[in-house]
Symmetry: C2
Subunit: 247 residues, 2 copies
């Protein structure tokens, strides 16, 4: 239990869940009104993480899961020879840390892509609350299940799509998640580098860059560094399913 980052405990100052406008993206969703107020005791504290700093690292002991209140993260796993695989990008309202429950130890790194803030949900307390609040248990199971389904669709992407299909799927997914958060579905700022996108999609950064350029030439998107405008969302979606030739 090494205190890597100073935990900014603000409990009492501000209620964690009952006043949070993210609840419908987050763990407290689908919970009755009376139970809802009890959730403020579920969140232990809040923590601020600076850009490029880890929320937790692989091999850290698992004690809590985290709900992202502001900012965004990447999760990655490393091979001893230095190869990195980004396993996901998480944004506001999403949950981090589920990988640690099985073994009691985290199996990946969670790194902030920008200055961020998370709610710390001690796992022991979550289990206890889940036993008495029916909706909480179910919502937690749903979140884990959706993570599994998401991972399966990433396996589909990594195992059987070509480079431009992968990037089209990535952009479409980003757009959908922006929509769910009330942001523009057609215009957004990528918080991650080309290399991180490449690692996520199983491609090299040059390939990612070339695919971006090609999409721009075709009038599907407009790219200015990390700023993306989607000009033809339907065109992108078509790209995902159609591999050019193959008879």
């Amino acid at each position: 239990m090494k205190a890597t980052t100073a935990p900014v405990t603000l409990t009492g100052l501000k209620k964690a869940c009952s006043q949070c406008n993210l609840f419908e993206l987050c763990l407290p969703f689908g919970i009755s009104e009376t139970d809802f107020l009890r959730l403020d005791d579920l969140v232990g504290s809040q923590r601020k993480i600076k850009r490029q700093q880890p929320l937790y690292r692989s091999a850290d002991p698992f004690e809590a899961i985290y709900a992202i209140r502001a900012g965004s993260f990447k999760s990655d796993v490393l091979l001893e020879d230095g190869r990195e695989q980004v396993t996901g990008f998480q944004m506001t309202g999403e949950i981090l840390g589920l990988d640690g429950i099985g073994t009691g130890v985290h199996s990946c790194n969670a790194i902030a892509l920008e200055d961020s803030e998370v709610c710390v949900i001690p796992y022991a307390r979550l289990e206890e609350f889940a036993r008495s609040i029916e909706g909480l248990q179910h919502q937690f199971h749903k979140i884990m299940s959706r993570e599994i389904v998401r991972d399966h669709s990433m396996m589909l992407l990594l195992g059987s799509m070509r480079a431009e299909e992968r990037l089209a799927a990535f952009l479409t997914n980003m757009s959908q998640r922006c929509t769910a958060r009330g942001f523009s579905p057609t215009e957004f700022h990528l918080r991650m580098t080309r290399e991180e996108i490449g690692s996520y999609l199983g491609l090299k950064l040059e390939t990612v860059s070339r695919a971006f350029s090609h999409f721009q030439e075709k009038g599907l998107i407009s790219v200015q560094q990390k700023h993306i405008c989607i000009l033809d969302a339907e065109g992108l979606k078509k790209l995902i399913q159609h591999q050019p030739c193959m008879h």
Copy 2:
């Protein structure tokens, strides 16, 4: 709610969990002795699935998770254009169906690789039991978490390993799982085809076949169709971490 396969209800005839020698691989693990006897009511029924038949299909309504009592399965997801990605191979003592919790609908197909038998665990009953049996809730969370970690390591494999590294990782994993089940770690029979292995590893069947042949030439394994002998387990493990050149 279409009754696709006849459910072979044997309740009462034989207690499901308390007399099952698989419990330490399965859901009931880590549960106190008194609670253990109650688990027989958790399992609704048992079902036999013939080789090549589905336990469930994508888009089927989700009602239960399944514990494999005998046999083995593959899970796969399909793209509309026909491409298939095998997302996992499940064997005795493992749990199937977790993908359905999030949406209430299954998101993949589970197909028996041989004549198999599963315990049907109605999800509503599981949630109810988990609320009163502390160890069951925790064990269920552990199983889901481990599935997520496993999926992440598959993403690492699909995203950043070369063909022979992938097959070496696959064989090493199979060997470990055989060990956990009390089977020989060095000699086993693959239930799946080269094409299914290829789909799982993001490779074509010819590449899988060539890699098998190459491993045999190097004296790492001995291959006779689906029958595999591991001759140099350490050699296989070394292959996973070392990509040949790259400076």
